[in-house]
Symmetry: C2
Subunit: 502 residues, 2 copies
Amino acid sequence: MATSTKNARKKEVKKETGLGLTYKKDENFGEWYSEVVVNSEMIEYYDISGCYILRPCTMAIWETLQTFFDAEIKKMNVKNVYFPLFVTENVLQKEKDHIEGFAPEVAWVTKSGQSELEVPIAIRPTSETVMYPYFSKWIRGHRDLPLKQNQWCNVVRWEFSNPTPFIRSREFLWQEGHTAFATQAEADQEVLEILELYRRIYEEFLAIPVVKGRKSELEKFAGGYYTTSVEAFIPNTGRGVQGATSHCLGQNFAKMFEINFENEKGEKSMVWQNSWAYSTRTIGVMVMVHGDDKGLVLPPKVAELQVIVIPVPYKDADTDAIFNACSSTVQKLREAGFRADTDLRENYSPGWKYSNWEMKGVPLRIEIGPKDLANNQVRVVRRDNGSKTDIPMSNLVGQVKEVLTSIQECLFNAAKQKRDACIKVVNTWDEFVAALNEKKMILAPWCDEEEVEKDVKARTKGELGAAKSLCTPFDQPRLPEGTLCFASGKPAKKWTYWGRSY
Amino acid sequence: MATSTKNARKKEVKKETGLGLTYKKDENFGEWYSEVVVNSEMIEYYDISGCYILRPCTMAIWETLQTFFDAEIKKMNVKNVYFPLFVTENVLQKEKDHIEGFAPEVAWVTKSGQSELEVPIAIRPTSETVMYPYFSKWIRGHRDLPLKQNQWCNVVRWEFSNPTPFIRSREFLWQEGHTAFATQAEADQEVLEILELYRRIYEEFLAIPVVKGRKSELEKFAGGYYTTSVEAFIPNTGRGVQGATSHCLGQNFAKMFEINFENEKGEKSMVWQNSWAYSTRTIGVMVMVHGDDKGLVLPPKVAELQVIVIPVPYKDADTDAIFNACSSTVQKLREAGFRADTDLRENYSPGWKYSNWEMKGVPLRIEIGPKDLANNQVRVVRRDNGSKTDIPMSNLVGQVKEVLTSIQECLFNAAKQKRDACIKVVNTWDEFVAALNEKKMILAPWCDEEEVEKDVKARTKGELGAAKSLCTPFDQPRLPEGTLCFASGKPAKKWTYWGRSY
């Protein structure tokens, strides 16, 4: 923001309205969400349905997550690569279950310029089939293993149901890791190491509690062996949301793509494979969990701007001195490593600016007026709970650091409290239906039979969508002997989370 | 590479052959290039023509360039964004000259799953028309300017002529910057600031000399006002290669997309726009310029691996001690910030390893044998010129640093010398044709008329492709009064580079 000039200051301060949100989070969540992602300038709707423009404050968050994750996987010796956007029909269809899962959503290129292509070419919905023919070529002996590759890219899934910014879009950004090992033990171990990184993205960066667990057979990755995930929950809609997935593919793809190697004994073996991904969906979950009726609420760790400093001049006050104090406050904060800026625009009132930066979710606002100047202090206002404190300039950096740390923690704790309050343990079908109507995240004893899950889906079909299993948490409560499945009445094998989901 | 074991050491060392290149750079450049990008493991050919797999050592270079450029444009206050991959036909066609330039290469999605789309949707060949409808929405007043956005993404141009890895591929990675200013002066200035960053990418990182200049009317960006570029030259083929472009779009797109703003006087004005891009083509130019008959030659600044340490055990020597010395050498180098590794594989001979790492272009090889161990020294072999020196372990870090710096400089100087030797100043058509046959980069006085350039193209048409203007260098030699155009005989207005090009 440019420094002020005396001239500009004399201009009339605009009385703009329409800054706030039309919808309330608790009253009309869907409209609230659409409005908040647009008004906070995270998203712009695009003229092709289901495609969205990711604006700078979105990309800043994405890059923060990317920097963290990319460094972590590099420590694990994963190498970045880039495979083509396109895949031939022939290759795409090699793994039967896999293509069945993705076929309805695949976008096809059939023309270039004015010419028809000889054969239609698919746009990757995910890259297993793009990559694995080459894994087969590159992997010869045990010394070529493990092979660990990752790419940061866009993928396209032409879905028709309920496009929602970040959460369900026809094109999205993600990373997809693809690895091959000599043994299942190594693959199993990596699945969990990656899942832990995904937990950290949600809990440490986005301040969102997640449950680590395993997906049911019905919900696992198409063509995979087993799928683990981190599952978040949106209390307002009572829907679970699959946060990120780490799949063990077993040897299914290896068989179809002939990914073999000569082991140390000179025998021909088949590799064990994993694939794992998180996407820009993470950011949508963050908006849904933390946002409020004033707009976005950003965790300090991912906020492009952590502190906004706003001058609060009064008629007779020394405006220059106030503006200078704002600038020097920003400078001090930046030197201490914070992402800070000041809003010295002359044509907006302080009140308008407060609302504007609240809409954008900036974690901390600092106000500097004549009284603050006189007392050599600043007023600090938290975005998460609105609390106000005066802090002495002499301890600016220390206190800002403390408050930002506290905001990060409080956001997580508040989200966890709300999420936990939604968890309902049930034992019977009636309890299950009641809890579903109350928008709960339902923990129920289950017989773990695929037919029973299909039956649960069929019996809960309705306007809001059917219930399904979210995950079987790794952290299992005790399952007393003789416990019966909530849905089938057969002996229960495990506790599983159920609910509607995105 | 895993640490060795006594057991493994006893295995027979493989006598593998076929490590070298079949083709020589000076004898069959095209085949040499295809072979070197594959054998060095930069590229894998993909089963769709014109699409290539970018392997880890390619992506490492791309990320190094990206880290540099991204930080520089962030200093200029450019913000990263992400716009959709898709664009509707309607919007794509808004700027007439622009679509004429790109239409023949546009890939069209017409189907999703089994359903025909209502209207075909294009995949971006570049994003001017994707972005500018939204620039029109976001820019209202002079306070919204300058607007500076950039995205890192893939684009698709379905070309049919001579696909070449990195240089001409149907999908490639790039950054595209798109900016809007209140005045032409600001736009003009940014065009050159960005061009200077592109020069630095080529000269400082990739050690490739480039000429900064302006493209002719015929060669400028479709729909733009003027185009500047950095032009490299490949002596072996006698072809220029457009290294990166920084366009001033003027107000052409602003007119079609109605990107207007209220200026400080309250009047309606139209913005001035730029767009600028560099792509993975940079990496292909690097391979072409520095590669040799042993394979890739990487400048130390971009090499994923700068130093490879190879043990040279002899029958009676203390192999463990040699291996340990290799590991501790790597550790010292890594601690000093170098990218170093050791190749302790037991089933390959030192000679095989030398060839292998030469193929991959690693700038510096360190050999450690019994004699080195005894003398507390290492042998250092440069990839660029093959020179060998013994350096004392006591000064390892200092000397390695010096040698790597020297390699970076020598690569640039050697490339510049070769490029300069190809520059031929001509004044007449006959001289021009002769120089063209000698594969020169031709500097000729030109009348700057579009019809004359078309005529030059027509008169030089042939198997190798027509000659065209490469750029009019900013650094203009003196043009004596009365100098005539080499092609038209009319009064010359400027010196311009001509030649065949990629």
